[in-house]
Symmetry: C2
Subunit: 127 residues, 2 copies
DNA sequence: AAAATCCTATTACAGGTGTAATATATAAAC
DNA sequence: GTTTATATATTACACCTGTAATAGGATTTT
């Protein structure tokens, strides 16, 4: 089962999905570019993610104090959970929601084409 | 500022967005069709929503114990918050996320047309 | 008017979250 | 080897959430 990942924890996961394994220190540095979180705050988030089973780590053979962290769950799996949670909220109004998503986000031409294709396929399946 | 609405509280809001004002009793009945929540649980959710300012109520002139609840915030405003929260999580990968949404949800032909149109407009705007 | 009923308000309680400070253990530097 | 620096672990703490039970007050029923 995919563990439940909180808002703040997501930011830690994002760093590691981009690049892993990383030490706690590296994660802290990466996050402090975008967030004003104290060092200890970020290390707490990391530890909680390990406890939840969303991260694993290996110990540096040269220095047993240093851990290398990596995700045990994929971005896709996790975003899927969020999607389901949002679906429960939106109830029947998913069309409206998706429209608002598209409207709101900037997309490249390539992404737009990709989405159009998916819609086209969906229409074919409907019919 | 739109208040933060929890998962369970969303279900209460959904009932009232469909039909309001309603008494606590009516809300309870509506929700118990879909959820196995105790009466008292639902009333707690209602009270918390009032406290947060997401619901307001008026007292029945015939019976001061009965309150009529109604939303003070719209579905659109609230779903917008959720959208932003999800965007923060998805980081740069919104295209992927939207694709997965579309893929996953059942949409009517009408909705598909609507979305295609929005995409088309977006492409035009992209230049 | 006493009892039963039915609302809302108060209280409960554990687990999750945001946000750290402090303690402890180990490695590095003298 | 003793001090110093640094990593992880423990502890903190208030607020949010899910999930109710109980208390208190008004009303309807007997």
């Amino acid at each position: 089962m995919i563990p439940q990942i909180s808002d703040a924890e997501w930011q830690v996961m994002n760093v590691l999905w981009e690049n892993s394994p990383l030490t706690a220190n590296a994660i802290v540095h990466a996050l402090q570019k975008n967030f004003k979180w104290k060092d200890m705050t970020i290390r707490t988030l990391i530890r909680r993610l390990v406890k939840k089973g969303a991260l694993s780590y290996t110990v540096d053979p040269k220095d047993a104090r240093i851990f290398y962290y990596r995700p045990t769950v994929s971005f896709e799996e996790c975003i899927d959970q969020e999607k389901e949670s949002l679906q429960k909220k939106a109830n029947k109004k998913m069309g409206l929601l998706i429209a608002s998503f598209i409207d709101d986000v900037s997309l490249t031409d390539r992404e737009i084409d990709e989405l159009s294709k998916i819609l086209q396929e969906k229409r074919d399946k409907n019919g």
